[in-house]
């Protein structure tokens, strides 16, 4: 084994294969560009997005790519369902119940690193995403089409941020009317549900919405603190947020462990959502005395909502969330 010289034949074969491959790789996949790009229409709009950048958007936007799930929903509401969506399978699992995907958009890769090739291949008129990527990534996207960056979430005014993002999308794609209708419908639904909650005698009931995660036997709880979208939504129909802790400045998410759950006041309802079989609240926590001793748990006030409602979504997701919430808490007829 000490004398290992590469014999000549494999080398020749390699060269032959490379040559063959090189020949096969000749040709083009797209005809050369012949004319200059069409001049910008006179009806183009200029909008200031969440980065503070002025984005010039051509008139009559048709093909839009959405790189975050909230953007997908806003675009559908505005009447221009995206032709490309990041992580279609994930959207279906986590958002598909609240705001089902319209049409059959092309998958453009993950939300973290969407495929520039796939997006360019769709030749969109506009790309909509949410704050978070770095400038280099925006620069690559801007070479394809104007990029409209949404705020996504702001704990200072969660509902207002949701509306503002939706309205920005509406202006960008010329769907202002559809957007205003959707907002009016959402607010009307909120009023109806507020009445339902009132009738059921549930007004003022404290709720604590939380995510539970298990990794390697360890349990982590993420409560939605004041400033998160969900508490703002359910407070608008008459509930109050039963989680006393603080959250981050953007999404209003807190973090705690099982011990921290003892901060919940008696009479609080725990509400959570997960997808599929993983359910920390019925599996891992079922044998933990801190959890089972909680007055909330003793009283049986723990509710799992249906899978697939995006908790950081828009008016459709929030409508589905509030409907599910009221259905779960109302006494059975």
């Amino acid at each position: 084994m000490s004398q290992r010289i590469l014999p000549a034949r494999p080398v020749l074969a390699g060269v032959a294969v490379l040559t063959a491959l090189a020949l096969a790789a000749c040709g083009t996949t797209e005809a050369p560009a012949e004319s200059a790009a069409p001049g910008a229409s006179s009806e183009a709009v200029t909008l200031t997005d969440a980065r503070g950048v002025e984005v010039e958007i051509p008139a009559e936007v048709e093909d839009v790519v959405a790189l975050e799930w909230a953007a997908v929903e806003h675009l559908q509401v505005a009447g221009v369902p995206p032709v490309g969506v990041a992580d279609v399978a994930g959207y279906t699992d986590w958002s598909g119940t609240g705001a089902p995907l319209e049409g059959e958009p092309t998958d453009v890769g993950t939300r973290i690193e969407p495929s520039i090739d796939a997006i360019a291949g769709l030749a969109p008129d506009l790309i909509v995403t949410v704050l978070g990527a770095d400038d280099a990534a925006y620069a690559d996207l801007e070479a394809i089409a104007p990029v409209l960056v949404l705020q996504g979430a702001d704990a200072a005014d969660p509902i207002g941020t949701m509306y503002a993002d939706l309205r920005l999308v509406g202006e960008a794609v010329g769907g202002q009317d559809a957007v205003e209708t959707a907002i009016t419908e959402y607010e009307a639904r909120v009023e109806e549900l507020r009445a339902t909650v009132e009738e059921a005698g549930l007004t003022g009931t404290p709720l604590a919405h939380m995510d539970g995660y298990e990794n390697g036997g360890q349990v982590e709880i993420r409560p939605y603190a004041d400033g998160a979208l969900l508490p703002a939504a359910f407070e608008s129909i008459g509930f109050v947020n039963g989680w006393p802790g603080e959250g981050d400045a953007q999404y209003g998410l807190g973090v705690t462990d099982v011990e921290g759950l003892t901060a919940l006041e008696e009479g609080t309802h725990i509400v959570y959502m997960t997808v599929g079989e993983r359910d920390v609240f019925t599996d891992q926590l079922a044998s933990n005395a801190i959890y089972t001793d909680l007055p909330t748990v003793q009283a049986g006030n723990v509710h799992r909502l249906p899978d697939g409602i995006w908790l950081f979504g828009g008016v459709k997701s929030m409508t589905a969330y509030l409907d599910a919430l009221v259905a779960a808490l109302s006494p059975a007829p």
Binding site: M1, S2, R4, I5, V11, A22, A25, G27, T28, T29, E30, A31, P32, A33, G90, W94, D107, V108, G109, T110, R111, I112, E113, P114, S115, I116, D117, A118, A120, G121, G132, A133, D134, D135, A136, A137, A143, I144, E214, N215, G216, G217, Q218, E220, G245, G254, V255, T256, D257, V258, E259, G260, T262, V275, R278, Q284, S287, N288, A289, I290
Partner: protein, 676 residues
């Protein structure tokens, strides 16, 4: 016969007292206001707070102590076993295997009945360590095993990151677990694994006297009549079981299995009798427990209530452990033990050096062309011709405008990291040395993340400059802490390692605190990616590579001598210190600019030089060009596959390098082992 001298006893007693005091303080901390008074009340029979104390406080302190004991003892035994002071549970891929198993189980929805997630971590860690032992078991030297283990650990870490990227929602929380976290859901996990830890430590104590002999050298041990093979196997199984139990309880708690034993080794040298394993293993175990409990106390004292939950304890153990090692390494007198680098360079695989270099150059060229064509959108050469002529259609133009800088970034960063790794290995004379190890890559990453956090609109040059500054500061810091004249010593390796652990910890802390939901940022700056790179991001590393190649053609013979030992080069009239400083300076510039271009990539700088050494030997005239070509090829292949395999989804280059490189590297280690 096993008389324990007072020095060791005193140290042990001091550690024990410290541990008890810390544990008492620890039990009063938590996410509820439940302090000393309630705790004493509970001891006195008041049951009103019993559930919080029994299900949360006590499990956490028990977890901290048991994990610390297990890691300290396991690390000490592994270091004796491998004869390498850098060996630790990470080195044998225990932590990597556990993380990967947890991640895969999370996505696939697998759960083991009865024992749950901790059981999955234990099994994963054990399988990975056994694979390392099976693959890397060499005749004569354990360095092979250490190399295979380190490489496999990086690959398994990549598996974990891949599952996190592709299943963002399902794996939420896994990142924090992967850095090491003590939170417990009841006492069950600790109670199930405690017997394994106790038995593991007992086995090591039984083997202690024979380990003393093994530490003198294998030949000495055989002469005296110690069955080295059986001893090795027993020690290995015991220490791997300990490490796997620790990772099952708390996730991969950073750096304890390395820092605690090293601290005890350095202190024990000054205490007569304390260096014997029967004393040192318990001391290392106690030191591990003090380190874990102390780090957790510190974390929760600094960030009371729920604020501490955002920062995994593993981050703090890394920081505290790093400070300990740096301080002790400075005061260490005779830390000159180094390891021969000839393990993989003794006999080479290829007979002629030029043939592999030519083949590697052809392969890199072919791969570069292929990389430009491959991707989510498959292009043909005609497209490239159109693009070069400026008459390509929009889709092709955009695709090539974004793809070509990524190809360039991958190749150049790979070349830079490989060269940097070869230089660091030559200066440090340690098989595990790489740019990451010197803290340079970590410092550069920290610099880049800091500027991005402080100045959200930071551009390519600002980020590159900041990365270079961070890398340079880390490099200078290492040089100053180690001292100009001791660059070839173990002190360099230890200080660099501590600094790199500290910078990695600070980087994750900065990201977790300032931008907790930004996974993209975390991935780029903790594992490396070419996504979104433009040509302007690549220029600094291109300049660094060209200048370094010029410098290296001038000094490659000095490097050949510098890698041998301290004495030979001086006898032959080489100004060793000057050569080492220049080589390190070049390594710092190369690594920092590479980090600025594609983030912190760990695998290339370690593996490419080793691969080159196995193929053509240790002469830098041939080693450096081949290492550079291999490094460029590896990173490029990783990036191309990452862009292509599961398109339109893509995997970052920094994660793919280890996955792509590991099969080749293991094969190489086996070849080199066989031809000896």
């Amino acid at each position: 016969m096993t008389r324990i001298r007072p020095g060791g006893l005193a140290l042990g007693a001091a550690l024990l007292v410290g541990l008890v005091a810390l544990a008492g303080w620890h039990a009063t901390q938590g996410t509820t206001d439940l302090g000393l008074r309630e705790l004493l009340g509970w001891l006195g029979g008041d049951a009103s707070h019993a559930s919080v104390i029994v299900e949360s406080r006590l499990p956490r302190i028990a977890a901290a102590i048991v994990v610390g004991l297990a890691l300290g003892a396991a690390g000490y035994a592994m270091q004796t076993l491998t004869g390498n002071p850098l060996a630790s549970p990470d080195t044998l891929a225990v932590n990597g295997g556990a993380s990967a198993a947890i991640a895969i189980a999370a996505v696939a929805g697998i759960s083991l009945p009865g024992i749950g997630g901790a059981g999955i971590a234990f099994v994963g860690g054990l399988i990975a360590a056994l694979a390392v032992v099976a693959i890397g078991r060499g005749r004569g030297s354990t360095t092979q095993m250490v190399l295979v283990g380190t490489a496999l650990a990086l690959a398994l870490q990549s598996v974990t990151t891949v599952t996190i990227i592709l299943n963002e929602q399902e794996t939420a929380g896994l990142y924090a677990w992967g850095v090491g976290r003590l939170s417990q859901n009841g006492i069950d996990t600790v109670a199930q694994l405690l017997p394994i830890v106790l038995v593991g430590i007992a086995v090591l104590l039984v083997l202690a006297r024979r380990l003393d002999v093994l530490a003198l050298g294998e030949e000495a041990a055989t002469t005296i009549g110690v069955g080295v093979g059986r001893l090795r196997l027993g020690t290995l199984i015991a220490s791997v079981a300990l490490a796997a139990a620790a990772v099952a309880i708390a996730g991969p708690i950073g750096f304890v299995g390395l820092a605690a034993p090293i601290v005890i080794r350095m202190v024990a040298r000054r205490i007569p009798g304390a260096a014997r394993h029967v004393v040192a293993i318990p001391l290392a175990a106690l030191a591990g427990a003090v380190l874990v409990v102390g780090a957790d106390v510190l974390l929760r004292a600094a960030l009371p209530g729920t604020a501490s939950l955002d920062v995994p304890t593993g981050v703090v153990t890394s920081l505290v452990g790093a400070v300990c090692i740096i301080v002790l390494a400075r005061t260490m007198a005779g830390a000159a033990e180094t390891e021969s680098m000839s393990v993989l360079g003794g006999r080479t695989i290829a007979k002629h050096a030029w043939l592999p270099i030519v083949i590697a150059a052809v392969v890199l060229t072919a791969m570069t062309v292929a990389a430009v064509l491959l991707g989510d959108r498959l292009l043909l050469l005609g497209d490239v011709v159109n693009w070069l002529a400026g008459r390509a259609g929009d889709a092709v133009r955009v695709t090539l405008d974004t793809r070509t800088p990524r190809v360039a970034a991958a190749v150049l960063a790979g070349v830079a990291l490989a060269l940097s790794g070869a230089l660091v290995q030559a200066v440090a004379r340690n098989a595990l040395a790489e740019p990451y190890l010197l803290g340079v890559a970590g410092g550069a990453g920290l610099g880049a993340v800091s500027i991005i956090t402080l100045v959200p609109v930071a551009t390519g040059w600002l980020v590159a400059g900041s990365a270079l500054a961070g890398g340079a500061i880390a490099g200078v810091l290492v040089l100053v802490l180690v001292g100009w004249r001791r660059l070839g010593s173990l002190r360099l390796v230890l200080t660099g390692l501590a600094l790199s652990a500290a910078t990695a910890a600070l980087t994750s802390m900065l990201i977790v605190i300032t931008d907790p939901w930004n996974r993209g940022k975390a991935i780029v700056w903790l594992s490396g990616s070419t996504y979104g790179r433009g040509f302007e991001d690549v220029i600094p590393v291109a300049i660094a590579v060209v200048l370094s190649l010029l410098a290296l053609t001038w000094m490659h013979r000095d490097l050949d001598l510098a890698q041998l030992d301290e004495a030979t080069p001086r006898l032959l009239g080489v100004r060793l210190t000057a050569v080492q400083i220049i080589a390190l300076a070049i390594a710092v510039v190369l690594a920092s600019t590479a980090v600025a271009a594609i983030g912190v990539v760990a695998f290339v700088g370690l593996v490419a030089p080793h691969a080159a050494r196995a193929i053509v030997g240790a002469r830098h005239r041939v080693l450096l060009p081949l290492a550079a070509l291999l490094g460029g090829s590896l990173t490029l292949l990783a990036d191309t596959l990452g862009r292509t395999l599961i398109a339109p989804a893509q995997l970052p280059a920094g994660i793919m390098t280890a996955l792509v490189g590991i099969p080749y590297f293991i094969w190489l280690v086996l070849q080199a082992g066989r031809s000896r």
